[in-house]
Symmetry: C2
Subunit: 103 residues, 2 copies
């Protein structure tokens, strides 16, 4: 199975998390992953945007340490790194998630 690289939580900076959350599409992905509380495929998280645009958003979410993606056959399974982020930056992501109104 091909692996996708993710930053260790020690390398994650709050400014990168803030940047990742500065886009409505990425905010929605994070909100939907939090609401589901499980791994979701890219298809499930499709926001009716071009595939290249969604790939870009997932790349930024992974680089910021917010999302972990594992490859399972033809599927990309995405999950929120909520527990790790919460431990490093207590309360930040939970407070943000409370404000998200999903469409």
């Amino acid at each position: 199975m091909r692996q996708i690289k993710h930053p260790a939580i020690e390398q994650v900076e709050l400014t990168d998390i803030m940047y990742a959350l500065s886009d409505p599409a990425r905010m929605e992905i994070v909100g939907r992953l939090a609401q589901a509380g499980r791994q979701m495929t890219c298809g499930e998280l499709d926001l009716n945007r071009p595939k290249s645009s969604m790939s870009h958003h997932f790349k930024i979410l992974r680089a910021a340490g917010l999302v972990e993606t594992v490859i399972d056959g033809k599927e990309h399974l995405n999950s929120l790194r909520l527990a790790e982020i919460e431990q490093k930056f207590p309360g930040v992501l939970y407070a943000v998630l409370k404000t998200i109104k999903l469409p």
Copy 2:
């Protein structure tokens, strides 16, 4: 006295706040204003960066609704819109502020 325009709190979007906090210099300005708990001049908040760079950062902080600037003679007095932001997005800014380590 010349006035500087600020968005009403109703117009403030969380994604704009996240973007404003995605830069270490702007994060530091916000942290210092919160720590001081009073109006501060641009001189007091100088981060040893070019004046044009600082102006740019203050412009983004104002546009995001985080900072209010009033002009008093030759001084620009800046303050954090903490109470308004807290009311609209409870807990977000406080959680972020707790993580800021000022130099």
